[in-house]
Amino acid sequence: MSTHSITLKVNGEEHTREVEARLLLVHLIREELELTGTHIGCDTTSCGACTILLNGRPVKSCTMFAVQASGAEIASVEGLATNGNLHPIQEGFTEKHGLQCGYCTPGMMMTTVALLKDNPNPNEEDIRWGVAD
């Protein structure tokens, strides 16, 4: 199995790793970089628990190779809060108890961040399409 040297920025911090071509991005994030806020729910790109932002776009990291993210800027749920202050999306989810069991909440929040960046005043249909993205 071929290996590749990749460099990527995660939550503002640059990382270089030697990885196998088939290493999934979510395994790089969770197991190599030890950022376990990103969860794996279904491993079939259905549920969105593993959603991260890749250059600002929401992406399901369980079905993308780490090598495809080389050179990219990634944001995971750990990067939302700044200086100990929750991101407005985190505050909103807290205030409205926007979760059921909480497992997919990191993915839901990352998706919401991306949605509101493009469309700060979405209607219900926009939101339904947005979270299903």
Binding site: M1, E20, L23, G41, C42, D43, T44, C101, Y103
Partner: protein, 649 residues
């Protein structure tokens, strides 16, 4: 750490002609490939299910359902293990498949199990058939309905999985796993693998935080046994975590009841009898977790909240080429199936008689004055006022207004439905005379320790999967002892520390283990009263309790808080009041201890141990101050601060 991945069958029924593992073994990172024949050499190719049926760990000659485990690959990483799985070549000869339980019962049907005479696992019935038929013959009206409650799969947050870690020096297995019943699993493991040296005291099951079980984490799956076997043979920790796709295809299912029901009534809407015939599809093995006395679980709660004079229920358990079924999802065993059947029939009868479904229910509810009530199928109901509850619910939703709204809407062609359902569920399995798992009587336990500063550690034989036992149990103990819940630490899920229990499923934890907690707390309360009496120089009869303290009747200022009593128990314990406490009268001379601890254990090659490193060996000294006995709040002879729910039953 080694990683385990599993080769699964693409066929629902097939003969295994050959398994070629050469290429897999040559795959980088692969350590070994395990087949049924390898396990068979150790007598581990099959295991008993919780219903005393037989389940394959790995097959030797045939697979019986799609996605069945066929072989396991052990490797140094999960990616390498997956590579190994791809490289295993299995040569199958497909066989005829039977997936319809009615066809499985026909003459000449493909036989699912070579070790059985037919696909009928068991026939179970209850109630008086003749008497029920007679009521039907005399009924003004009879309605009939067939219904299928489909096979479903539970979905918990994390799939099943484990880390099996066998430590060869100590000969001890630690199994971290997502199980709802850690102690029962430990016992089953000892029964399955006792002959290869896994003795129950050498097995520690630890169930950490679990994200939902729904019955799916009660059974033992082949992956667990293979991981244990590989760890046992290699002496290394082995991790097995299912993919979601594997979990949904191969782990045990729920429901799958084909029900044919008939309900009889008088013209005035009095329900008189119910008859139910059910075909239960159990897949290729009966791996449900029902009490052995009741193979269809508690399905005979199907007379529900109504006063039936007669009922008759028949269930046929059937083998098909599917994964095991019969787990208790979202209810006590098979109660959901029973409730659905009865309430559906009640609605059909209401429709047929043109009586409002709420009125029909109210007319037939067991009346408050009938309690305690014995149902015709043998259940004892202690209390209830079902009509009052339904009336209250109807007021809350403004039922009459809803019916008006429905009428108006229907008049203009808009459809609107109003559904009513009531149910009586039997929970809290259970009274030991009727309930067991593999013969283990269904009790549960609690063990409570109060520390000198009045803080509590309480351990239970159940295992929360997100239900919040930590909150519930702490509140129960807090109520009994007057100690704030935030000062009560609750622990479950570690078989080395928690008292034996049957686990969490079928809505049993609060009524059984929670009650054990209350009983244990009451024993502590009684001891605390004795100590308080001593401290206050009063007789026990003269003491009164208010939340958190004892005081002398008529002198509320003469009082001792539970925290003061706890501290006194360790520092000022009255002589003769400590039934379970060894109090040394003089110091022991223990310098010989060094000598003992340097002893070399033959055959273990560990003579270099620093003398004080291992607590286990410190115990070879003859210190009279036994560590456990020195805690007056915790009795280890079974009648002190421990209580079992059996006491109540």
């Amino acid at each position: 750490m080694l990683y385990l991945d599993i080769v699964r069958s693409p066929y629902a029924h097939a003969k295994i002609k050959n398994i070629n593992i050469e290429e897999a073994l040559a795959t980088p990172g692969v350590v070994s490939v395990v087949t049924g024949k390898d396990l068979d050499a150790h007598g581990l190719a099959s295991m008993p299910t919780l219903m005393s049926d037989k389940q394959m760990v790995l097959p030797i000659d045939k697979v019986k359902y799609q996605a069945q485990e066929v072989a396991a690959v052990v490797a140094t990483s999960r990616y390498a293990a997956a590579d190994g799985v791809e490289a295993v070549e299995v040569d199958y000869e497909p066989l005829p498949v039977v997936v319809d339980p009615f066809k499985a019962l026909e003459d000449g049907a493909t036989k699912v199990r070579d070790d059985k005479d037919s696909n009928l696992i068991w026939h179970w019935e209850t109630g008086d058939k003749d008497a029920t038929d007679k009521v039907f013959d005399e009924a003004d009206i009879v309605v009939e309905q067939s219904m299928y409650i489909p096979r479903i799969h539970v979905v918990s947050i994390e799939t099943c999985g484990c880390v099996a870690s066998f430590e060869p020096i100590e000969g001890k297995l630690t199994l971290y796993m997502t199980t709802q019943a850690p102690h029962a699993i430990r016992t089953v493991l000892a029964l399955v693998a006792g002959h290869v040296g896994l003795s129950e005291e050498k097995i520690r099951v630890i169930a950490p935080d679990i994200g939902g079980g729904f019955g799916g984490k009660v059974p033992i799956y082949p992956g667990y046994i293979i991981a244990v076997a590989v760890s046992f043979l290699t002496g290394k920790p082995v991790k097995w975590i299912e993919d979601r796709s594997e979990n949904l295809q191969a782990d045990s299912f729920a429901r799958d009841y084909h029900i044919k029901a008939a309900l009889s009534a008088k013209k005035d809407g009095t329900l008189t009898a119910i008859k139910i015939k059910t075909v239960a599809d159990h897949g290729y093995t009966d791996a449900a977790a029902n009490p052995s006395k009741f193979p269809a679980g508690l399905f005979h709660i199907c007379t529900g909240s109504y006063d039936f004079k007669q009922a008759h229920v028949e269930v046929d358990g059937v083998y098909t080429n599917k994964p095991p079924g019969g787990i208790a999802y979202r209810c006590s065993f098979r109660v959901t199936e029973a409730v659905h059947c009865l309430e559906r029939m009640t609605d059909i009868m209401a429709h047929e008689l043109d009586i409002d479904p709420a009125e029909l229910r109210m007319k037939n509810f067991i009346r408050p004055e009938q309690f305690p009530y014995s149902s015709v199928l043998g259940w004892e109901y202690d209390s209830g006022d079902y009509e009052k509850a339904l009336r209250k619910a109807m007021e809350m939703i403004e039922y009459d207004k809803l019916r008006e709204e429905q009428k108006e809407k229907r008049a203009r062609g808009e459809l609107m439905g109003i559904g009513i359902s009531s149910f009586t569920e039997v929970v809290g399995a259970g009274p030991s005379k009727d309930y067991d798992i593999l013969g283990l009587k269904m009790f549960d336990s609690a063990e409570i320790r109060v520390h000198p500063t009045g803080k509590v550690m309480a351990r239970f034989g159940t295992k929360s999967q997100g239900q919040g036992h930590e909150t519930t149990y702490a509140q129960i103990i807090a109520e009994e002892l007057g100690i704030p819940p935030e000062h009560i630490q609750i622990e479950e899920g570690d078989t080395d520390t928690a008292p034996y229990g049957l686990g969490t499923y079928a809505s049993r934890s609060t009524p059984v283990a929670g009650a054990a907690g209350a009983l244990a707390a009451r024993k502590i309360h009684d001891k605390a009263k004795k100590i308080a009496a001593h401290l206050l120089e009063a007789s026990e009869e003269d003491l009164e309790w208010e939340q958190g303290k004892f005081f002398v009747k008529g002198s509320p200022d003469r009082s001792k808080t539970i925290q003061e009593i706890a501290f006194a128990a360790y520092t000022n314990h009255p002589q003769g009041r400590s039934g379970h406490l060894l109090r040394p009268t003089q110091l022991d001379l223990s310098f010989r201890l060094l000598h003992l601890c340097r002893r070399h254990r033959p055959g273990h090659g560990r003579s270099q141990d620093p003398p004080f490193r291992r607590r286990g060996r410190l115990r070879c000294s003859h210190q009279p101050d036994d560590r456990r006995g020195a805690d007056p709040w915790r009795s280890h002879d079974g009648d002190g601060a421990r209580a079992s729910r059996r006491d109540l039953l």
